[in-house]
Amino acid sequence: MAVRFEHQWNEGKGRIRRISTSLDSRVQSADVAESMVMEFCARVAGELICEQVGLAVRESVANAIVHGNRLDLTKKVQLTAELNDTGLIVCIRDEGDGFDPDSLPDPLLPDQLLNESGRGLFIVKSCMDDVIMRRSESRGMEITLIKRITAAPLKRTRW
């Protein structure tokens, strides 16, 4: 699996760092995505924030693979993560049919508490500052995860 590392100087806004990759539609890709983004996040944030981001990425990629692409190995999940002056922005896009996020039941309702599934998106939202979901312009569902990291300056890296 190829992971692209990009960094550029965005005049007036400081350095932007970005990674992107294409993930296979298999459950192990959730592990790959989680560790990749956590490592990326660790350049600017502490352990707690990185763990929250990692969990949100894991859940989002798992949803994209299992519910979006339905484990179809002919379909991919695209992931990009970008660090800018606001913080960390992660975008995950599948090639499935898409869905209406408002149609999902609230997993905290008493009659939903004992369900085996349905907590993933709720956990994502609890871990991140902002979560934006929309049907992709091309195909599938796109979820954007935003974690504001303003206190810590970008660390010097060897990239």
């Binding site: 592990d31 894991r58 859940e59 798992a62 997993p107 905290l108 004992l114 709720f122 956990i123």
Partner: protein
């Protein structure tokens, strides 16, 4: 990883590592299914060495709870690490389970 032991008629399942989508959840599901087949329905999950749980892991634990409850069994939790406790808390599942910090007290609670 999972290994089980019997303590005063209670099956204590010592779990370690990550209970997440894929292998971690499968290990737990298979262990619980084995216990039910062996008519062992007093189950105490010791999560002391569990480093991480995701929504699939939570779902597997909830599923085990309802599966045992429907068969007149019980599933209780022991030694929740902070991360796991926090996740159960935000998912409003902490009040669903009986949770213990002491194994002896947990085992006695099944009587």
């Amino acid at each position: 990883m999972a290994s089980s032991r019997q303590v005063d008629g209670v099956t204590v399942l010592d779990l370690s590592g990550r209970i997440v989508l894929g292998e971690g959840c499968e290990v737990l599901q298979e262990a619980l299914a084995d216990f039910v087949r062996q008519r062992r329905t007093k189950i105490l999950l010791n999560l002391a060495a569990v480093s991480y749980v995701d929504s699939s892991g939570l779902g597997t634990i909830v599923s085990g709870y309802t599966y045992l409850r429907d068969r007149q069994g019980h599933l209780k939790l022991l030694n929740l690490p902070k991360k796991v406790r926090d996740l159960l808390q935000i998912a409003k599942l902490l009040t669903l389970f009986e949770v213990f910090d002491d194994e002896n007290t947990a085992v006695q609670s099944f009587r």
